[in-house]
């Protein structure tokens, strides 16, 4: 405050009528100073705590903001590190994926080959079985047809050769067999 007064005095210059660099009436200076001190003291007494409290709150908020910023920075740095690490691992991961894909493709290829081979074997066996069955069926049909033809031929031969004497001989043979069975 004294520096302020001195400054005012310097602005006014040392050209006051009393020849001092202070105003001419020292009492006015003293009372003014006193009033200023009183007003300042009242302000300090009444408004000081609120002002201090506001300043403390502001300081605390600023501190909180700084802490939050520090936390965010830490998190951002951690995220950055993680991303860096992930980026660093991406090549390895890509290589692993490619290797997995290659192994899967190889396994699939092997499996398909094995399945195709098994299918081919089964198809071949089924074909052989079908051919054998067809052969057996054809042979059976042929046998049945031959037997049918043979039976027809035999019937005709028998029918033409069964004269009355043969019929009587068959009947006598039958009667003898029935009698002999007793």
């Amino acid at each position: 405050m004294l520096s302020t007064i001195a400054l005012l005095a310097s602005e006014e210059g040392a050209h006051h009528p009393n020849g001092y660099w202070l105003p001419g009436d020292l009492k006015e200076v003293l009372w003014g100073t006193l009033a200023f001190v009183i007003v300042f003291g009242l302000l300090w007494w009444k408004a000081g705590p609120a002002l201090k409290k506001a300043m403390a709150g502001r300081t605390e908020r600023i501190g909180d903001h700084m802490s939050a910023a520090a936390t965010q920075r830490t998190e951002a740095e951690a995220e950055r590190d993680r991303i860096k690490a992930a980026l660093a691992d991406s090549d390895t991961e890509a290589a692993r994926i490619v290797e997995d894909a290659r192994q899967t493709a190889d396994a699939l290829h092997t499996e398909l080959e094995a399945r195709a081979e098994a299918d081919a074997v089964a198809l071949r066996e089924r074909g052989v079985a079908d051919i054998e069955a067809a052969q057996r069926q054809a042979l059976a049909n042929l046998t049945a047809e031959v037997s049918r033809l043979a039976l027809g031929a035999a019937e005709r031969v028998v029918h033409h050769n069964l004269d009355d004497a043969s019929q009587q001989a068959l009947i006598e043979q039958y009667i003898s067999q029935v009698g002999a069975a007793n």
């Binding site: 019937e155 028998v158 069964l162 009355d164 068959l170 009947i171 039958y174 009667i175 029935v178 007793n182």
Partner: protein, 175 residues
């Protein structure tokens, strides 16, 4: 024809035979007529044709049988033909013959052969079958060309098959 209906007709035939005192002739003549009918497809079709008037079909029967059968047998067969039971005459004849034989304590042997058995052969076969079954047997011979040769005898549920037809069939099955 159901079993019951053929049995009813058989009982009716037996009743007529008893009433006419022809219980000995009717079963035999009916059986022979059935055998003859079985061997003549055309006759069987004519007598069983519903488009031919019954009176005409009955007249055919009377003309065929004439004096070769008793009046009772002709009457019975004419009745069956008129009733449209031509297809069942064989079954009825068999039941009549079996019932008549049973009433005499005998059983009927249906003997199928390609040619007719002589009386002597029938007697010897009846004797052989009687000895075999321990019951008197009456032989009813049916000429059946399908037998080809030999004899097939059906007596009760038993079949004594000595036919050439069966031997040929067995030969075919052996292939």
């Amino acid at each position: 024809m159901s079993e019951t209906r053929s049995s009813v007709y058989a009982e009716a035939v037996l009743a007529i035979a008893r009433a006419e005192d022809a219980l000995g002739a009717v079963p035999d003549e009916l059986f022979r007529f059935a055998g003859a009918l079985e061997g003549h497809d055309e006759l069987r079709e004519k007598l069983g044709d519903p488009h031919i008037p019954a009176a005409l079909r009955q007249q055919i029967v009377q003309d065929l049988m004439g004096d070769r059968a008793t009046k009772a047998s002709v009457a019975v067969i004419t009745m069956l033909v008129g009733a449209g039971r031509v297809g069942d005459i064989a079954k009825i004849a068999h039941e009549v013959a079996a019932a008549a034989a049973s009433s005499r304590g005998e059983q009927i042997a249906e003997v199928r052969s390609a040619v007719a058995l002589t009386d002597d052969q029938q007697a010897r076969l009846a004797a052989a079958l009687t000895a075999r079954t321990q019951r008197p047997v009456t032989v009813r011979n049916i000429v059946d060309p399908a037998v080809l040769g030999g004899v097939v005898t059906t007596i009760g549920d038993a079949v004594l098959d000595g036919s050439v037809r069966t031997r040929l069939t067995q030969l075919r099955d052996a292939f």
